[in-house]
């Protein structure tokens, strides 16, 4: 039995054969791993080396270069708010700030980490409805601070599918 799931192994093998050099396949392979496992662990990097002969240093170089690869456990809800020019002009920063304050208050009140994380991302291609946000894979338009808070309430009160709760140690730094 390999380290990765049968499906993932097949995807990885596909990418490896596709390019002139093996190294070129690192980028899509990491995406595939992230898609299946939510975030990329040190063990995944080592397994790429031991099972597919992709040097771990090369993989780690790519992994840490790009900030959109996640190298630490993810929370159940990932809120991505666009802060490129149109959304920024229409107050995306305010929305982000509001959510960050909300997170801080949550922590203070309950003593627990809130079940969501907030990220500023680049243009999502729906500038006509700025500011735009994604919550996991759902799209939301005109996300004012008020709407953002409402979204958080709606999502966090849902009964979640079982999410990964194991806190794994990790030492890859996530860039900045």
């Amino acid at each position: 039995m390999g380290y990765f799931s049968k499906e993932l192994t097949k995807i990885i093998e596909g990418y490896i054969g596709r390019f002139e050099t093996k190294r070129s396949s690192i980028l899509p392979i990491l995406h595939a791993i992230q898609d299946e496992k939510d975030w990329i662990r040190d063990e995944d990097v080592l397994a790429l080396e031991s099972e597919f002969n992709l040097p771990a240093v090369d993989v780690r170089e790519v992994l840490t270069f790009y900030t959109m690869y996640r190298t630490s456990p993810v929370k159940p809800y990932r809120i991505e708010i666009c802060n490129s020019i149109s959304c920024w002009l229409r107050g995306a920063d305010k929305t982000i700030e509001t959510l960050e304050n909300h997170m801080a208050r949550w922590k203070q009140k309950t003593g627990n980490e809130p079940p969501f994380e907030v990220h500023a991302v680049a243009c999502l291609g729906m500038c006509g409805h700025a500011p735009v946000a994604f919550v996991n894979k759902d799209r939301h338009l005109n996300v004012t601070p008020e709407l953002a808070l409402k979204l958080v309430e709606q999502y966090t009160s849902k009964n979640l599918a079982k999410v990964e709760s194991k806190q794994e140690t990790q030492n890859v730094e996530g860039g900045h």
Binding site: D42, L46, P55, V57, R60, F65, E173
Partner: protein, 503 residues
């Protein structure tokens, strides 16, 4: 094959390209880079990432030069010469570019040279003195990174001092083929590093310290022991194995203490590198590691009496059975002199034995430089014996054959680098059971008190002479002043002994 080797080969087969650099005409083979061509006429272009023994990376942007007809400056390391090219390395524009390149290299570099072990041989310091801005304009806060990391038996890594030239990454990929280093993260958070939990453990790791142009990689063995400007170097040959790499031994004249070895470029033998085993070859040269005065039956004898004592022992043994035990760690000249003078004094040829390490694998080769024969002059000893028409028996650990010869006098030229012999104590013990032993060597063992005469010998860095390496290529030794000022070499002693006899 490295660039330089490429160029060397090219030199033989291809036409030369003519150009001028800083007004001086120069002809170099097709394919040569501007930086190499400039080196040829002594124009030094500042550079970090280019190294003659590695591939070209072109990442530090320091080696900017002005080329006539070119609207922009070019990097000297990755620009090949063309016929009629006019290069200026000291052009105002080039200097300006270098100044700013350095400024960027320093944005996140700690400015604590006084506590950095590289100070004095740091390229960042050197170039800043040469082309820097002096008055820094940087207000930004520095990005802090991990320091003093334990990354290998020989190595300590300070990632904050790293200027990301990638020389070490290429060395690991191309020379040691261990590919253990990478540059992680990006932008000004870029960081040189290893996969967590891994280390750099191979026999060539110390070369990383040499090629790192700044104080990021330092040697555990050397750091903070001595400021480099107190060191003077002696160019000679490494005695560590039968490869015979060209090296420099660095010592502090005032302290009479050696601190380290570094490779010297030698395209015929070691290229730009040497091995970590060879780096240890200074330890046995220092006073604390070797015997300083001769002893006669365990009591110290003055150096100016030693020739007398030697002549006495030898003349007593005339017409008796004499055995000579040689180790393959002396110079060709020493073998020739010792063999001929003993024969002359005795009137007969002694029975010769070659004492070799108890366990060894002399034909082994690691594919890079290091050879399983950890004796520098196996070939030289063979040649000296065959020239003198002597058949010698090899002994290892067990000295039975020597005992059976039942000698009245046994002269031993013991190993200089005892490490190569594992533990020589057992052999010394058995030698001490023989009737009359004259022992030459560096050993600190107390067993030598039981010998009739024990004479300290010079070490390789105190000798002039030659070894023959595995390939029978002569390798030169150049003498530095001895650590013990009164010490006599084998050459002095035997020459004096001969003179005494002839009188």
């Amino acid at each position: 094959m490295t660039n330089t080797e490429n160029t060397l080969n090219a030199e033989k087969t291809q036409n030369l390209v003519n150009l001028t650099i800083d007004g001086k005409p120069v002809s170099v083979p097709h394919g040569t880079s501007v930086i190499e061509a400039a080196k040829k006429i002594g124009s030094k272009i500042p550079h970090f990432c280019w190294h003659p023994g590695l591939s070209v990376a072109g990442v530090c942007r320091l080696c900017m030069v002005k080329i006539e007809g070119n609207p922009k400056l070019q990097i000297g390391c990755n620009t090949q010469v063309t016929e009629g090219m006019k290069v200026e390395t000291k052009h105002q524009e080039a200097k300006e570019a270098q100044k700013w390149a350095l400024e960027f290299h320093l944005v996140n570099h700690p400015l604590d040279c006084p506590t950095c072990d590289q100070a004095g041989e740091c390229k960042l310091q050197d170039y800043y003195m040469q082309v820097g801005r002096y008055d820094s304009q940087v207000n930004e806060e520095k990005v802090l990174k991990p320091k003093a990391l334990d990354v290998g038996t020989e190595l300590i890594l300070d990632t904050e001092r790293c200027i990301l030239c990638s020389r070490c990454v290429r060395f690991e990929d191309q020379v040691s083929k261990t590919s253990s280093l990478g540059i992680f993260n990006r932008g000004d958070h870029s960081q040189i590093g290893l996969i967590p939990g891994r280390r750099i453990e191979h026999n060539y790791s110390y070369n990383l310290v040499d090629i790192c142009p700044v104080g990021a990689f330092t040697a555990r063995d050397f750091r903070f022991k001595c400021r480099v400007w107190f060191l003077e170097k002696t160019k000679t040959t490494c005695p560590g194995c039968s490869t015979g790499c060209s090296v420099s031994v660095f010592g502090n004249k005032m302290e009479r203490e050696y601190y380290r070895l570094k490779p010297e470029v030698d395209h015929e033998v070691n290229g730009h590198w040497m091995c970590d085993y060879g780096r240890k070859m200074y330890k046995h040269c220092n006073a604390s590691a070797r015997q300083s005065v001769p002893q006669k039956n365990g009591t110290p004898v003055d150096w100016n009496r030693i020739t007398n004592e030697l002549v006495q022992e030898l003349t007593k043994a005339r017409n008796k059975k004499v055995a000579l035990v040689l180790t393959p760690q002396y110079t060709n000249e020493e073998y020739a002199l010792v063999l001929s003078s003993i024969k002359q004094i005795l009137g007969t040829t002694p029975t010769v034995f070659i004492w070799r390490p108890e366990t060894e694998n002399p034909t082994e080769f690691d594919g890079v430089l290091f050879r399983g024969d950890h004796n520098a002059n196996t070939k030289g000893l063979e040649r000296a014996l065959s020239q003198a028409n002597i058949q010698a028996e090899i002994i290892r650990g067990n000295i039975e054959p020597l005992k059976n010869a039942n000698p009245d006098l046994t002269i031993v030229l013991g190993p200089e680098i005892e490490m190569a012999y594992g533990n020589i104590e057992n052999t010394l013990q058995s030698l001490s059971k023989l009737s009359n032993v004259v022992y030459f060597g560096v050993t600190l063992s107390d067993t030598t008190k039981q010998f009739s005469l024990t004479v300290p010998t010079k070490v390789f860095v105190e000798k002039n002479g030659t070894y023959l390496n595995y390939n029978s290529m002569p390798r030169k030794l150049i003498a530095n002043a001895p650590v013990f000022s009164q010490i006599m070499g084998l050459d002095d002693m035997f020459a004096a002994a001969l003179q005494r006899i002839e009188q």
